[in-house]
């Protein structure tokens, strides 16, 4: 954009009104009207002609052809139709430009539309290739990266041709001390910030994918690393965006001073969570994939962001927990040291007359048959002694690497053990109390206990 001269006293509203009036003045001119109508016609035909041709072609096909499965289409071929409209537009734009040149009419606007069709064609072709190679995973990039970039480029092209847009950009909209915020700076800063934030998001996703497919590293570590990279890029983006706003060191100090007051008054929780988030990310004390027990509920860590951590409970409920919770309250992690191994203890009591060796053999064999019980360390039946209720008390110790399913494992093992012990005639101890009443004058009734 050019450096236009602003007449003193002209406000943003004056300049915008001027720009609108200038466009109305252009629209009063026959040469502009002709070009605009030509462009409108080109776009309409470009959009509708491929559809007309397609329908015409379908109608020409004889109806009595035997039903056949269509040949499998290549992924790029399925998206080829996206190129028809820009290609048609491009051809028509060239024809119109040629016609205008022959007539000696100005054709700058139509030439701009040709540039637009080239860009549209390139954009569609790029998407076609990406979707063909990467499938539906391109969709978020399509929506958040390619569409905004395409729109930005179009805006830049359009505004670049419009003389005087720099005036709008140069008008101050806010003055704080020596800091003057112009609309242009604000737009630049916003665009830069968006580019950095989206760039950071893309880098995080790409890193996650690339590192997990190439290195045998723990997914949680990779995700933490990618998150750190994302926040670093975002932080750089914020600094650059602030600089693009026109903030110098003094102004930044002013803003920081203002922020510090805000932090002191109302943002302390947010800042506390933010700092906790940084601590978690740097210390790696909590990583995505970790299974934790918090307030008696077992859940798996999905994502550690700067302010909150998202966990999924066994009920598949997502909980968003402020990060400060993890730095101020005790949290049990069941998956520390990267192996995810936990020991599960199942208390077991059998009848007193059971053979302990047989019980041990049956229980350990049954437990080891469960797919989520590790063979090494092997299941072990530990005696807890002779029960006071005339029972033999044991603890079955099994190891599993699926800590999140600890409860389910316990339940399934009990079912299996009950069945296996019953098949061998070993009774599960049931505490019972026998009461004998002896009718005797000399001796009062006595209470006896049996196991």
């Amino acid at each position: 954009m050019d450096e236009n001269i602003i007449v003193p006293g002209e406000s943003l509203a004056d300049i915008i009104t001027n720009q609108l009036n200038m466009m109305l003045a252009f629209l009063d001119r026959p040469v502009v009207q002709q070009q605009i109508l030509a462009i409108a016609g080109i776009i309409l035909i470009a959009l509708l002609l491929p559809e007309v041709v397609r329908r015409w072609w379908q109608q020409r096909q004889p109806d009595d052809l035997p039903e056949m499965d269509p040949p499998p289409r290549r992924p790029w071929a399925a998206r080829l139709h996206g190129l028809y409209a820009p290609l048609t537009g491009l051809v028509l734009a060239n024809v119109v430009i040629w016609l205008f040149e022959r007539q000696g009419h100005p054709n700058g606007l139509v030439e701009s539309s040709r540039t637009f069709f080239w860009l549209w064609l390139g954009y569609r072709a790029l998407l076609m290739v990406l979707y063909a190679r990467l499938g539906e995973s391109v969709k978020p990039y399509h929506r958040f990266v390619f569409v905004p970039i395409f729109v930005l480029v179009l805006l830049w092209l359009f505004l670049g041709r419009q003389v005087g847009t720099a005036l709008v950009a140069n008008v101050p909209i806010l003055t704080l001390g020596s800091f003057i915020l112009t609309l242009g700076n604000l737009i630049n800063a916003t665009v830069l910030l968006y580019i950095f934030l989206i760039g950071a998001w893309v880098v995080e996703r790409v890193l996650n994918r690339a590192l997990q497919s190439r290195f045998d590293a723990e997914p949680g570590k990779i995700r933490s690393l990618a998150t750190l990279v994302r926040y670093t890029i975002s932080a750089v983006g914020i600094v650059i965006a602030l600089a693009a706003l026109g903030l110098d060191a003094t102004s930044l100090g002013l803003v920081a001073g203002g922020l510090s007051v805000g932090i002191g008054i109302g943002l302390q929780d947010i800042v506390g969570n933010f700092v906790s988030g940084l601590t978690l990310l740097f210390e790696q004390s909590l990583r995505p994939g970790d299974v934790i027990e918090l307030n008696g509920r077992i859940s798996e860590v999905e994502r550690v962001s700067l302010r909150t951590t998202t966990v999924t409970t066994l009920d598949n409920i997502k909980m968003i927990i402020p990060n400060s919770t993890f730095t101020t309250e005790p949290v049990t992690t069941l998956t520390k040291d990267n192996n995810n191994l936990i020991r599960v203890l199942l208390p077991l009591r059998v009848a007193y007359d059971s053979d302990p060796a047989q019980v041990k053999q049956i229980v350990e064999q049954t437990a080891s048959r469960h797919p989520q019980v590790l063979r090494n360390p092997a299941p072990l039946l530990l005696s807890r002694g002779l029960g006071v209720d005339s029972s033999l008390d044991f603890d079955l110790s099994v190891w599993t690497n699926r800590p999140k399913l600890r409860g389910l494992l316990k339940s399934e093992l009990y079912y299996l053990l009950f069945k296996a012990l019953a098949e061998q005639g070993i009774k599960i101890h049931v505490p019972k109390r026998e009461l004998s009443i002896i009718q005797s004058q000399a001796n009062p009734p006595t209470e006896t206990q049996t196991g």
Partner: protein
């Protein structure tokens, strides 16, 4: 327009409802474009109305004065919406050329007469018809300023000839002749100017005839060009004479009072006033020579009309240009901005406007180059003549001969349209010396 009338039938496109739904945003934009392209053209009768665009390169302070004038025009023509845009001077022509091909140029462009040749040649500015010319206050000088291939392309607003600035605290009576200039310079009243073709054209007719005969022939034989180059070559070694292409440095010397004379156009007034203060310098005509008064080139700021404006816009732009060039507004621009009026009806009283008067008197003897001439190439050939003569690479005769040869080689003048100095021929590669 038949396409416009057919737009209501767009509803038949319901046949393509799926396509329409899929591209609803684009189609909406197309519809709006179509509607905007179908704006009815205002009728060409009655009072002035509609939107008119004016581009200029006046500085912010000057633009305020221009806005005052435009406010008066708006008051007289309330149905006219005037849109003004100020662009940097070195960007104005390029932006105009770029926008003009879109149909988006300004209806009225305040630019230099130097642009008329290229803009009229490419069809981007509109010639005035007989009726329009008759309605304008154009005298012969003004007509020559804006004429191109027998068509008139604009209305001059102000003149910009170079003249002699002098420091009033150093100079009691400014030099009026070239000899006096050298004499005073030797006495400590130094003089500085840029020794290039456009900037130092003024001495040619002071030492002989001008470069152009009345019939337009480029007459190098009888012109004072050779003598002027010889004078410059001798003067550059004189004490107190500074010939340098760095105009900014020369201006600084004048501001600091280290030289008494400085040759520059009227645009420099504001900068000098800001740096030196009011009434610290005067402006007078350039020193005359034995053959007559000095004749600097005469560029002028001119109102030019865009080719592709609507009829309504052309009418309004013409009325606006007439308004800006009229006596009242010319006086306003002279009074407020020290602009030298092109309108001869304006009396420039030297007692009230001494500096403007200096330039106005200089304009009377200034030279108007034909707009058909490709000025860039003509000036470039002239610059090479000045540079080679002053550096001693060529004698003045050789430099002028080479200039003539280059002008012919470049196709600016044919063999029949040029008279070379004696001893100079177009047939030889090397210039003949006397």
């Amino acid at each position: 327009m038949s396409i416009c009338r057919s737009l209501p039938f767009a509803s038949t496109l319901i046949y393509f409802h799926k396509v329409i739904y899929r591209h609803k945003t684009i189609l909406l934009m197309v519809f709006l474009l179509g509607v905007s392209g179908c704006r009815s053209t205002p009728n060409n009768t009655g009072a002035l109305s509609g939107h008119v665009i004016l581009w200029h390169s006046w500085s912010p302070d000057e633009a305020l004065v221009l806005e005052q004038a435009l406010a008066e025009f708006r008051e007289s023509n309330p149905q006219v919406t005037l849109v003004t845009l100020a662009l940097p001077a070195d960007d104005l022509l390029a932006r105009f050329e770029q926008s003009a091909n879109d149909g988006a140029g300004p209806d009225l462009l305040l630019g230099s007469t130097d642009w008329i040749g290229s803009l009229a040649g490419s069809g981007l500015i509109r010639p005035l018809n007989e009726a329009e010319i008759d309605a304008l206050p154009l005298d012969s000088r003004a007509t020559r300023l804006v004429e191109f291939q027998n068509n008139v392309y604009g209305i001059p607003l102000s003149l910009n000839p170079k003249a002699l600035y002098f420091n009033q605290s150093l100079v009691d009576r400014p030099a009026t002749t070239l000899d006096e200039l050298l004499e005073y310079a030797a006495d400590g009243q130094g003089v500085a100017f840029v020794p290039r073709f456009e900037a130092a054209y003024w001495g040619i007719q002071a030492l002989g005839q001008g470069l152009f005969d009345p019939d337009g022939t480029l007459n190098l034989a009888d012109s004072g060009f050779i003598d002027w180059l010889a004078w410059l070559k001798a003067a550059q070694n004189e004490p107190g004479v500074i010939l340098n292409v760095d105009d900014q440095a020369l201006r600084q010397l004048f501001i600091e009072g280290r030289i008494a004379y400085y040759i520059a156009p009227p645009e420099q007034q504001a900068a000098l006033q800001q740096a030196m203060g009011e009434d610290t310098f005067g402006v007078t005509r350039l020193p005359r020579g034995p053959a007559g008064p000095a004749g600097p080139l005469l560029p002028a700021e001119t109102a030019l009309f865009y080719t592709f404006s609507s009829d309504q816009q052309v009418r309004t732009a013409l009325a606006l240009a007439r308004f800006l060039a009229n006596q009242q507004q010319s006086i306003r621009f002279m009074r407020e901005l020290n602009r030298v009026p092109a309108n001869r009806q304006v009396n420039v009283d030297p007692r009230i406007y001494p500096t403007v008067s200096g330039f106005a008197r200089q304009a009377n003897t200034a030279v108007i180059l034909p707009n058909e001439l490709d000025r860039d190439r003509f000036y470039a050939a002239g610059d090479r003549a000045y540079a080679s003569a002053l550096a001693g690479l060529l004698t003045p005769e050789e430099a002028v001969c080479r200039f003539g040869q280059e002008v012919v080689e470049a196709g600016l003048y044919s063999e029949d349209e040029i008279i070379l100095p004696a001893g100079c021929s177009l047939l030889t590669d090397e210039p003949a010396s006397n």
